[in-house]
């Protein structure tokens, strides 16, 4: 070990400075014990970043360990930049989802753009070429002008970044609910394709190998971004705007091409994105994975401005940078590739045998930690978990007791309201701003149950989707966790894909609050149950805690990113009705559960009742039956029943594809045991609306599997009406009305003024 003394000009370590760095007293004592002395300012900065929730998962690690992570086709599980699964033919898919919630709350355009940039880098550092982007977004009510500002900024940020790099944005989901009013959720997922042989891991190896910084130069932006992401949002958050990084998609595109060329070249042994906590976390994590020491000289790091201190260089989160471990003697080859793409590469350190993590400024040591303890010594917490009694009370409130509004006598009024609820309405306003067809692989683009991408050179395709329902998880985290996985699986299965594996993004509140940690634990447990039953292991993901603002915590919102595989591309199935005269079938139970539904929330403003039951084993059987039917070639369309229930699903089948609308004639009058409104708007799980020219085949497949299935109506291409007969009444809506409700809602909102207000100007919003 070297002698480490304070650097001239750096602040003196005081309890106040320690607190400012977000370390608890216990964590600081741990640091002092590890070093055997008082840390330097640089060391304090390094530890505050690496031990931040964002980098260390200190509250979530223990719980995450309970998730299933293996399957024969999983090539890389959690712990790397991205998960990787084999899809046969020597090909593999790398994928990962990540949050950029806090930056987006303060600076939506850059926050979302850099979220896209970060997740792209996570995928191409595995050696995969990105082929698709997805995103899951949550905002408050569009009635609020700041929410419209956030929404439009986030959408533009996602679009401008992905469009420039040339990766199609193909799917996702957007939910609007007051629970996300001042803490929006911005989760971005990237999917990449690679040859299995090109898989590379971020593991430093080979004593004497040089460590190189490549890509953009390091500036003063984004310092302490990781710590910022690890605290509640508050009135003070706006003042932390400088912690937010600024994205440059042009440089990203160059870095993408240069990195893939580097990986192919064989001149490097490891590569990692300098993401959260920048150089600090990338170098420490690569060293820890390789079980080697590293030394880095901050004076060698190419910077944007002079006079940057080691502290600033280590903690900068300037975008579009990579850390590379090159093969000794191949430094010039690495530089040549970067120069071709007009980027810089500089040797900034080396892999050493001595088990230390050492940072120097020239010859002076400014930080030094023993072995990999910098990463492994991070504390792990298992705080108290206790369910909120207020939520128990909500769950135990029976939905049936909610009195019908007078207008509900006309069911088409209710359907109109639901279709024009921003959460359900068409999101074309957003996805028209995303290039969804570049790279010419998009078979099914945005707006379907899941996106489908062909795999060139094979007869295969993959289906991808992100999904989550925070309201369900809020009311019952265990059940909500199951549903998140099951719904994502159903969505990819509706295209004809077998669900393969997931990545997850877990957006929760402050884990030190017992009711929040309860939600986290239970939701992860529910997800684990569903993943095991469905055979879809978790290959990685991201945890975003402290999603709280002065108005309270967001709904606990686990978002699932699912990848499915289609073996025969000719079987790709779409969600909307296709052929006149086809029979319409409901695969699954009628159920009629209204708890936690969009109906109760939108029509009655109530978030009550138990969310619909979810039995993962049953979900698996339903999905298998659906896939068998699709594989037999007898399914014209398949659409998952979700938000808004059967009536909304049927309406979407009629009008979601504006170039191919259909009417439908439905008879549900035999379900006399269920109230009309529950038949129409209940959100019972495990249900698919299928259209088929061979209903007997579908019924036989379902009967063999032991899944309920009924023929409920006919597709009428020439009709301009959706009609539904019910036990005690009927619904009759013109396609023109459905179309207007579904397609015009969000454009109408977004033609209203959008103004930028800061947190300081927000009036307190009543907690939901």
């Amino acid at each position: 070990m070297s002698e480490v003394t304070p650097r001239a000009g750096d602040p003196v370590i005081t309890p106040a400075l320690v607190a400012e760095h977000g370390l608890t007293k216990g964590e600081y004592e741990r640091l002092v014990a590890m070093l055997g002395r008082t840390p330097t300012f640089t060391e304090l900065g390094v530890v505050s970043a690496l031990w931040s929730e964002h980098c260390s998962y200190k509250h979530s690690r223990g719980v995450l360990k309970t998730l299933p992570t293996t399957a024969p086709y999983v090539l890389q599980g959690p712990g790397e930049n991205a998960g990787v699964i084999s899809i046969g033919d020597g090909l593999a898919v790398a994928f990962k989802i990540e949050s950029h919630n806090h930056p987006s709350a303060v600076e939506p355009y850059q926050g979302a753009a850099t979220g896209v940039g970060g997740i792209l880098r996570d995928v191409f550092t595995m050696g995969a070429r990105p082929i698709a982007m997805l995103n899951s977004l949550r905002f408050g009510s569009l009635d609020d002008s700041r929410v419209r500002y956030l929404f439009s900024g986030v959408v533009k940020g996602i679009g401008d970044y992905g469009n420039c790099v040339g990766i199609p944005t193909v799917a996702g989901e957007i939910v609007f609910d007051r629970a996300y009013e001042s803490n929006p959720l911005v989760n971005a997922m990237c999917v990449g394709l690679m040859h299995e042989d090109d898989l590379i891991r971020a593991k430093a190896e080979g004593v004497g190998n040089p460590i190189m910084a490549v890509g953009a130069r390091t500036g003063r932006d984004g310092i302490h971004g990781a710590s910022f992401a690890s605290e509640d949002l508050s009135e003070a958050s706006d003042a932390k705007r400088p912690r937010i990084q600024v994205g440059d998609p042009f440089t990203e595109k160059l870095l993408l091409e240069a990195s893939l060329e580097l990986i192919k070249s064989g001149h490097i042994v490891a590569i990692q994105d300098m993401g959260a906590a920048g150089l600090t976390s990338s170098s420490a994590e690569m060293a820890e994975r390789g079980d080697v020491g590293v030394t880095i000289d901050t004076t060698k790091v190419p910077t944007r401005e002079s006079g940057m201190t080691p502290y600033e260089i280590l903690l900068s989160e300037s975008q579009e940078r990579m850390l590379v471990v090159a093969r000794k003697g191949h430094e010039d080859d690495v530089s040549a590739i970067l120069t071709k793409w007009d980027l810089t590469a500089a040797v900034i350190g080396e892999v050493i045998a001595e088990p230390v993590y050492r940072v120097t400024e020239g010859s002076k040591v400014v930080a030094e930690f023993p072995g990999s303890r910098l990463v492994t010594d991070c504390p792990s917490y298992s705080p108290e978990a206790r369910e909120s009694t207020a939520i128990i009370e909500r769950r135990n409130t029976a939905p049936d007791a909610v009195a019908r509004l007078p207008e509900e006598a006309n069911h088409s009024w209710t359907l109109d309201k639901l279709l024009s609820a921003p959460t359900i309405a068409s999101k074309a306003w957003a996805y028209r701003q995303y290039d969804s067809t570049v790279r010419t692989n998009t078979v099914v683009g945005p707006g379907g149950d899941a996106a489908v991408l062909r795999i060139r050179g094979t007869n295969k395709a993959i289906a991808v989707k992100t999904d989550g329902n925070g309201r369900y998880v809020y009311l019952d985290p265990r059940v909500g966790g199951r549903i998140a996985v099951a719904e994502a699986a159903r969505n990819v299965a509706c295209t004809g894909a077998r669900p393969m594996a997931i990545t997850n993004c877990l957006n929760f509140g402050n884990p030190t609050r017992p009711e929040v940690f309860f939600q986290f634990k239970e939701a992860v447990a529910g997800m684990g149950e569903a993943c095991r039953a469905l055979g879809t292991p978790v290959t990685g993901g991201n945890v975003s805690l402290y999603n709280e603002s002065p108005s309270g915590a967001v709904y606990p919102t686990p978002v699932i990113g699912m990848v499915g595989l289609i073996d025969d591309i000719s079987r790709v199935t779409r969600s909307t009705f296709r052929d006149d005269g086809d029979a319409i079938l409901l695969l699954g139970e009628m159920g009629g559960e209204l708890g936690g539904s969009e109906y109760l929330s939108t029509i009655h403003g109530k978030v009550i009742g138990p969310p619909p039951a979810c039995d993962p084993a049953r979900e698996k059987i339903v999905i298998d039956a659906l896939l068998e039917a699709i594989g037999s070639g007898v399914v014209s369309s398949a659409h998952d029943c979700s938000d808004g229930g059967l009536a909304v699903a049927l309406a979407e089948c009629c009008i979601a594809n504006q170039e191919h609308e259909s009417g439908a004639e439905i008879d549900l009058s035999s379900y006399s045991g269920v109230a009309d409104r529950a038949i129409l708007f209940g959100e019972t799980q495990g249900r698919i609306v299928i259209s088929s020219s061979a209903p007997a085949r579908v019924l036989a497949i379902a009967a063999k599997a032991g899944v309920a299935c009924s023929e409920i109506g006919r597709v009428r291409r020439s009709s301009d009406v959706l009609s539904i007969a019910l036990p005690n009444g009927s619904l009759r809506s013109s396609l023109a009305d459905l179309r207007r409700a579904y397609h015009s809602t969000i454009p109408t909102y977004m033609s209203m003024t959008v103004e930028h207000t800061t947190f300081d100007e927000l009036s307190p919003v009543a907690a939901h």
Binding site: N163, C164, L254, D342, Y431, R432, R439, T440, E659
Partner: protein, 230 residues
């Protein structure tokens, strides 16, 4: 026939053009690096879509000064075929190979959608396999696709049959609703007066497979093949 596809640093449709030429058309294609001065004996040059040099300044404004563009311009002046798609159309205008300019979309948003375009002139190097008045389904994806030019230029290129494609509805009607970016006179694609340089905002290379929604772009490539090979 050999197609040369220019790769600027942030071209991102070069790959799609390459596949359309090699897989759909079955012809030879090479990538031409922007720093080079060599067209590698290409018969036809494609300036593909993307963001050339980031396009933070003005779309295509830097690309026109790149080394390869000197050769592309010389090729065009000598009568060699050049197809500029999206960003390639913008670059061709900046380089003076085509009249007019592409400005920010009138609604100020990026637009990604399948649009319909009507073939206005089917007697060109690039459109001889279409019928005049035929409506094609082809995707657009751009933020700066609003074609503008002085009125006298618009009158002239219309009069000379240089307007090749216009945004239309599915029935071929030219209307404001069918115009995705506010282009003057719904212009989606134009040709130079010599008839060897076509610029268009829609992406024919993305409309080469029914699996992906349309194969209306294939005949554009076939048109070039039939005329140049002949």
């Amino acid at each position: 026939m050999k197609f040369g596809i220019v790769t600027f640093p942030a071209s991102n449709c070069d790959y799609d053009a390459y596949h359309a030429v090699t897989e759909i058309l079955g012809e030879e294609a090479v990538y031409l690096w922007h720093k080079d001065h060599d067209l590698q004996g290409s018969d036809v040059i494609i300036l593909p879509g993307g963001f050339s040099y980031g396009d933070y300044l003005r779309v295509g404004a830097i690309a026109r000064f790149s080394p390869i563009m000197q050769e592309v311009t010389a090729h065009a002046k000598a009568g060699g075929p050049v197809l500029g798609i999206c960003n390639g159309f913008q670059i061709a205008c900046e380089a003076g190979l085509l009249p007019g300019a592409l400005m920010r979309n009138s609604h100020l948003q990026f637009v990604s959608a399948d649009v319909r375009i009507r073939v206005e002139n089917a007697d060109t190097l690039f459109t001889n396999r279409y019928d005049r008045g035929e409506v094609l389904k082809i995707p657009v994806a751009h933020g700066d696709g609003r074609f503008v030019a002085p009125d006298e230029v618009l009158d002239r290129i219309e009069g000379e049959g240089q307007v090749i494609f216009r945004y239309a509805d599915a029935d071929g009607n030219i209307s404001a609703d069918a115009n995705p970016n506010g282009s003057e006179r719904n212009i989606a694609g134009i040709i130079n007066d010599a008839g060897n340089v076509l610029g268009m905002m829609p992406h024919p290379e993305r409309a080469c497979s029914l699996l992906l929604g349309s194969n209306d772009g294939v005949r554009l490539l076939e048109s070039i093949l039939s005329r140049v090979a002949a």
